[in-house]
Symmetry: C2
Subunit: 226 residues, 2 copies
């Protein structure tokens, strides 16, 4: 109660299974007394490309464009583009970040990767001297909630699904100091029965009820590759 | 000689180190008698977002938009958007795909992830019955060539850099049947001496000279997590 949640949502279709998972999260968390914000990336036509347009006014070095340096400098002098400032404000306020998306190619869709690339700039989310447990977003939690195309068995044939979580959970969120909750994975909702789909939705509601009591995972290689 | 190469390049600045690596690859491979094409994603203002705009004409199901199904159907009836058809033609012709990019967040930049999401559609790059060694792009090679922000030592502290190659090399390219060459990694070119940078460029030229004699890696969990 009183907790702030930001859901970063990347699906084109409100009637999709991802849309249902989003709706459940908004309803359940609101019911608990949380304040919930949603960044609906496709609806916002969120820009995934990291370009000069992200810096208002003069460049630090207009001879050779370096996105990392330019956004760091722009952050310090308050010259990042408006859409980024808006997202950073939401991140800053949030106690919990939920990422809701369909897995595309063992990874998040490009529009969500673009959110990571553009919003989590140096100075705001990390500094090279302040990374991982000392990252600038420490004190926050995150949760990756996603659907897959293939079945659980298919993913298990060649390795473990945890392998593909390493770059997202460890390489991004842990790097920024955010603690990671167990991912929430719905396998192949398009290929199962209506009954099974309902069960998956119920399981998400149930999990959210006790979410604030969960312990974060130990985000080290052992969790992923043991 | 006579081989066809497609370089998919994701950097905003021609004067960057990535720009130099691209230039070297184009020059060296052309000198060898290869035919080289470059998809310069930022220069093309390549669209990374997977939306309805990728399908010309009527949707298969306009009640609830499903990107995977719609692009698969559109591929079969020749109704994918022109920019995708153009990229698919380049991929189809190529013997070797080189991906040249700066690592962003343990992964490729969103604009390149968008290329994967949108170009490699079902029916063209894979079918669920024809994946991995039987994938639809078999007979081709690929190589991920990228720069990092942090040093080799930094990446080694928490696990191995190979961990983050799993989703890209195995989850995308291997899934489509493409054989994977050893990645080419230039660590922290922004933080080393001019001399060291020159050495890195020379090493890339040297590698390209004998590239066609290389054996692909064994793209299984052992290579990544042994």
């Amino acid at each position: 109660p009183g907790k702030k949640v930001l859901i970063v949502y990347a699906h084109q279709e409100p009637k999709s299974f991802n849309g249902s998972l989003l709706k459940i999260a908004v309803e359940e968390l609101t019911k608990q007394g949380c304040s919930v914000k949603v960044s609906d990336l496709y609806a916002m036509q969120f820009e995934p490309r990291a370009t000069k347009n992200d810096i208002a006014g003069r460049l630090h070095n207009s001879e050779a464009f370096n996105y990392g340096v330019e956004t760091w400098e722009a952050y310090k002098r308050g010259a990042l583009s408006k859409d980024l400032v808006e997202e950073q404000k939401k991140v800053k306020e949030a106690d919990l970040l939920i990422f809701q998306f369909p897995l595309f190619w063992f990874n998040m869709p490009a529009i969500l990767k673009g959110w990571m690339d553009r919003v989590l700039v140096q100075g705001f989310a990390y500094d090279f001297s302040k990374a991982y447990d000392g990252g600038l977003l420490q004190g926050k939690l995150c949760l990756f909630s996603f659907t897959t195309g293939g079945s659980k068995e298919k993913y298990a044939i060649r390795g473990d699904i945890r392998y593909l979580l390493w770059p997202m959970q460890h390489g991004i969120m842990h790097f920024c100091g955010v603690k990671v909750l167990e991912p929430h994975i719905c396998y192949a909702p398009e290929n199962v029965s209506d009954e099974k789909r309902k069960e998956m939705l119920t399981a998400w509601t149930q999990r959210l009820k006790t979410l604030w009591k969960e312990e974060p995972i130990g985000c080290s290689p052992e969790w992923y590759f043991k």
